[in-house]
Subunit: 706 residues, 2 copies
């Protein structure tokens, strides 16, 4: 790729191989094709996770990943493990499991048969995307080589007509893009991930070879032959993903056809009729705007919502916005776990009914939690409303964060909220034949710096908190540096040093998380002034007596606190959140949680792991005791050698011993009550569970009110 491996070089290399002779001679017409022009405003270096710079309905713009340097703290170890362990070891596993040989067999470099499920190509692409984001945080020749060494073979496997897929080839070529394959075959899904990977890699390196390959698939293969027009074949998303990729492509090409194709996929084409249950399962094929609830395959639904929000950000389509709000309300009012995980049902990896949120049986696929974060990131961009950042943080710190082991080489597909190893379930694994989650987690951790800030015309939004340094600019172009010093989430204090290159007026919007019951904020040691009003002095007579009064706005949980002033280099903002441990209940309709509470401290959901409790204590028998002040009763300590450093919580709870009758499955309600005794319970953050030996775990524990 340019400059190291240009596409032209790759083509030469391919042309000198024996394969070329098998392809029709006339098929390389694309060699002479003009490159599609890519917008230079902003340049590839200035594009964020999403390039919203020119999106008319994006209130907030993204900040490039490289603009934020994450320093020592909560995420630094995770991100180091991602780059040092996860990405390299996943590369080896993809190789060992034939994911690259699938491409090589198509170019005569391998005799191995096709391996893996239909969507296996996407494993490579998501892994590339992870590398692309990692490269955006800093040059790394070893990682870059991983892409270069594999991309050649992948690009060489692209068909003359632009089609690229290793499954529907040879003996399966007749099934390519049939209505049935479009439904189940993941061809567009794979190429959506290809485009996302190519985009991340382009934004890291400026190398557009991969992107050109993806554009060729869209412009040469899809657009000429597929679409709503009567003379074209119909298209079905199957597994939403291409929608996101197309809108993002549109943001680079400015080519309306890319946006329109995304809209067409979101709308569905009645010429491909699905069974009623498959409109539900696939979450596509009928107008997105006809949806009224989250249902079906959770990852599909989250990706569809993300793509639909992307479409809204470009068009402001009111029907989309209405639908997105309806679905989002459905999510947070009845279908999201406290961990930000979504998708309750194993059967169909699906959303359940409202309030169907079982704990041990929670499916809560890592990919779905990631999809939840992706969607909320887009809703946040559309509105600047902190409620979306709250959901994003919840998913990130808990249901996504749990998906990768601290060691970086074990991944969860499911992220249950209760676990018993005696069931034989193994939750953390190095490899899955459907290995969607591991590289998805890798790309998410690699892209993390891009989620810390946003800009608007009014100033800068702070979404996330961590020791870090922002080097970016206001939307008017003024360079600015913001240093965050904090031990968040372990401690509630965050100190900002705000340094525009010259004094300048703007608003710093500091997110006050919804869980922070009381928040203190100061600017250069004093209270931030929201506004100054002239007020009548009640002590003075007459109607002309009035005085200037500064109004201080009280920080409110779940909102962005606007610090609006003229900023000079070195200005300090100090925020202190309430990170005390709290007991959380859930809606009475969540039957599994009746009478139970979860413990949350700051953004972190806590859990009990059996091995931390006194020997012989069964998690099924313990209760949390509450006094009048429900949230008291937890003592905390940071244990630096435990689980890479965590704050643990201790609580004097009770453990009960069932009477004879009560150890039966069913018994008369007047059977003698159980006896109970005190026990010291130790809670750890949920994300860190199952990083030692397998042991029972639970998030929701009975509450004994006293």
């Amino acid at each position: 790729m340019s400059p190291r491996v240009t596409r032209r070089e790759f083509v030469s290399a391919a042309a000198s191989s024996a394969v070329i002779s098998r392809l029709p001679k006339t098929s390389f017409s694309f060699l002479a094709e003009e490159k599609v022009p890519l917008s230079a405003n902003p340049s590839w270096k200035e594009q964020g996770v999403l390039n919203l710079a020119n999106s008319p309905y994006a209130k907030l713009k993204n900040v490039p990943v490289h603009a934020v340097t994450i320093l020592d703290g909560f995420w630094s170890g995770r991100r180091a493990a991602n780059v040092k362990t996860s990405i390299p070891s996943m590369g080896k596993l993809l190789e060992v499991n034939g994911r690259m040989d699938n491409f090589r067999r198509l170019i005569g470099k391998s005799d191995a048969p096709q391996r893996g499920p239909v969507y296996s190509d996407s494993d490579i692409y998501k892994w590339w995307e992870a590398i692309g984001f990692a490269l955006q945080s800093g040059d790394n020749s070893a990682l870059r080589a991983l892409v270069e060494n594999t991309a050649k073979d992948v690009m060489a496997a692209q068909q003359p007509d632009g089609y690229l897929n290793t499954y529907y080839v040879r003996e399966r070529a007749a099934d390519r893009m049939t209505p049935k394959t479009q439904q189940w075959g993941h061809e567009l899904y794979c190429m959506g991930h290809f485009l996302q990977a190519a985009t991340a890699y382009y934004r890291a390196t400026g190398d557009r070879a991969l992107l050109d390959t993806g554009i060729r698939f869209v412009n040469s293969f899809l657009i000429p032959s597929y679409g709503p027009e009567a003379d074209k074949k119909p298209l079905l998303s199957g597994h939403p993903e291409m929608e996101l990729a197309l809108v993002e492509l549109y943001r680079m090409t400015g080519d309306k056809r890319h946006l329109n194709l995304a809209e067409y996929l979101l709308r569905g084409d009645s010429r491909i009729a699905l069974k009623p249950e498959n409109y539900v399962y696939h979450f596509c094929g009928k107008p997105f705007t006809s949806r009224t609830k989250l249902e079906g395959h959770a990852v599909r639904a989250m990706y569809a919502c993300s793509g639909a929000t992307d479409y809204y950000l470009e068009t402001g389509d009111e029907m989309y916005w209405k639908t997105l709000n309806t679905l989002w309300s459905d999510l947070v009012s009845s279908k999201m776990y406290i961990t930000g995980g979504v998708g309750a049902r194993s059967d169909g990896e699906a959303f359940g009914d409202p309030f169907e949120l079982p704990n041990a049986q929670a499916y809560t696929e890592s990919c779905a939690a990631i999809g939840n974060m992706m969607w909320n990131w887009r809703m946040l961009a559309a509105t600047g409303d902190a409620k979306y950042a709250d959901v994003m943080e919840r998913a990130l710190y808990n249901g996504i964060n749990s998906g990768m082991s601290l060691s970086g080489n074990l991944y969860c597909y499911r992220n249950p909220l209760s676990f018993d190893p005696s069931t034989g379930d193994v939750i953390r694994n190095e490899w899955y034949d459907t290995t969607c989650c591991p590289p998805n987690l890798e790309r998410t951790f690699a892209s993390l710096p891009g989620y810390f800030y946003g800009t608007s015309k009014e100033g800068i939004y702070v979404h996330l908190f961590h020791n870090s340094e922002l080097n970016w600019k206001l939307e008017d172009g003024t360079p600015i540096k913001i240093v965050q010093k904090t031990e968040y989430p372990w401690k509630g204090v965050v100190e900002f040093e705000v340094s525009p290159v010259v004094p300048v007026s703007f608003t710093l919007f500091v997110r006050i998380p919804s869980w922070s019951d009381s928040t203190a904020i100061s600017v250069n040691g004093g209270l931030p002034i929201d506004s100054i009003v002239r007020k009548k002095d009640p002590n003075a007579g007459g109607s002309n007596n009035s005085s200037s009064v500064a109004i201080y706005k009280i920080p409110k949980a779940g909102e962005y606190y606007p610090v609006k002033q003229r900023w000079s280099p070195g200005d300090k903002v100090r925020v202190e959140f309430d990170v005390d441990a709290k007991l959380i209940e859930s809606n009475a309709r969540v039957v599994e949680n009746n009478g139970r509470v979860a413990v949350q401290r700051g953004p972190l959901v806590y859990c009990l792991e059996g091995l931390d409790q006194p020997e012989g204590t069964s998690l099924a028998d313990v209760s949390i005791r509450s006094g009048k002040n429900l949230n008291a009763g937890f003592s905390e300590s940071f244990e630096k050698d435990l689980l890479d450093g965590v704050v643990t919580l201790k609580h004097e709870g009770t453990v009960s011993k069932a009477s004879g009758a009560r150890s039966s499955l069913y018994f008369s309600a007047d059977a003698p009550a159980s006896s109970s005794s005190k026990v010291t319970l130790t809670f750890i953050p949920y994300y860190a569970w199952l990083n030692r030996r397998p042991s029972p775990m639970q998030v929701w524990t009975p509450l004994q009110r006293s």
Copy 2:
């Protein structure tokens, strides 16, 4: 079938058709075959649901279905609907849905393509079995004609080698009996049901034509080519069912090869290796005696346990008995619903982990509850232990009984313990493409009289209670008549008139259900005497003073009460069970039921249906209130016009109104408590739910202890 349609007649009919020419000329050698001799002791007329007359390890023997006449009462309407509506309408639906055409296309009588899933043949066979049992209760020429009209075509479709299946034919013939097809193709499953149907029909009519067809499949097709021997091909049960059928066949033929083949299927053959998860799912393929828990597909597991118990009844194999006890304990201690339903998980229609018993999501397939009854019937035969009859009654009155609508033409596949129609689920349906449950329910209701009594060397066991008349004999051959008069389960009194043809000594074992907290029993108006002992008179001095004392045994719930005496015609026994409504709790490990109770009255589990509650009452908001005496607080009334006549229960409970915060999905545990007010709750028997307009339903309701 003999005498009306002999197999020979069928062959002639087939021979005159065009089809014959397509078959190899030499293939009709079985036309000349000798009929396999069938045991005449007992004769076909004297064989029960199971023919245990000569089973060495059966403590209890079955009573023929025709020996018990069920009179007016709880079951009479259900059984009338079964014969008048269910069986005839199912026959039409099977026809409309091509189940018979599947056979006819093989004999040139239909050009229709194969329809339905792989196991569709079994739909016909289970429906035949239902008719067979119905005919055992009395001649019914219309029903008999239904079998005759269809059996001709089915028998004609049998292949020359004895193979009979409509799916693995023609274009799919190459897949016949391959290891993969044995795993998933249900060939043996279908023929197991064929044999059971043929057996029921034979016991109703003495007509052995169907049975001979089944025997030909076993003797000509299976045994010569399949088995553990090195020169034979391996066999896998796939979906256990053939095991039961083969042992029952052995009970008629005495042919040890039939028993051995059942044992071989129960043992599995390592030459057909399954994936680890498929040993779990299929519940076969590895030695039954290596099983340690109930897992995998619930119907498969229940049928495997039934077949294994059948094998034990013939052989007394201790390893089998140990395994059966282990699995039964697993069932009743952690995996059975209060309704007797089993199989918690939709995913794989499977048993869940211990205590994984969700209510709304309960899969609880009707077939699995029937399998549970079948298994417990066999365990009861082996032991005479009432604990098995308890489970049987629980499943029969609740989780099976719910499976068929009162109208007789709508069936449940799933029998959840909580329901909300707003989910869009439709639970009662006329037809399923996988229509296993409907004819399974039909055969169960039709066979019901056969489950009321058992005999042992000591006397007669009474398992079930209903207005009824038994005309049978003691095991010594003495004819006996027992009339039951009762309004059970609505009322607790059962009056027996016991009339042996001549005075005779034996024990009448009356089952005291486990739910009857206090039971009164009298014989001819006085207490039954358990024994008379000579006892020292404490008031008299000296060692020779003693007196005769009659010992009365107190009826104990969950046991058979033995009334041992010399019986004369017209002797009366009166039993009064405690059928008061009771509150039942479940083990704390059943998380969905924490803090909740179910209401049970006699054998019937009750539920709340939304439409019976005051308008605007949401089931999710109501609680049952308990006083000191937990079980008080229910007023009952028999409503003859409601749901074909049921006892309803009324209770002054509470309904709560969530505060603002508490209507969120998650909220701080110190959010203001909900307010509550009184409400009159009306409970109906669970089996009768969803027989009016769809409405929310729940079995487990929060208990507010006061």
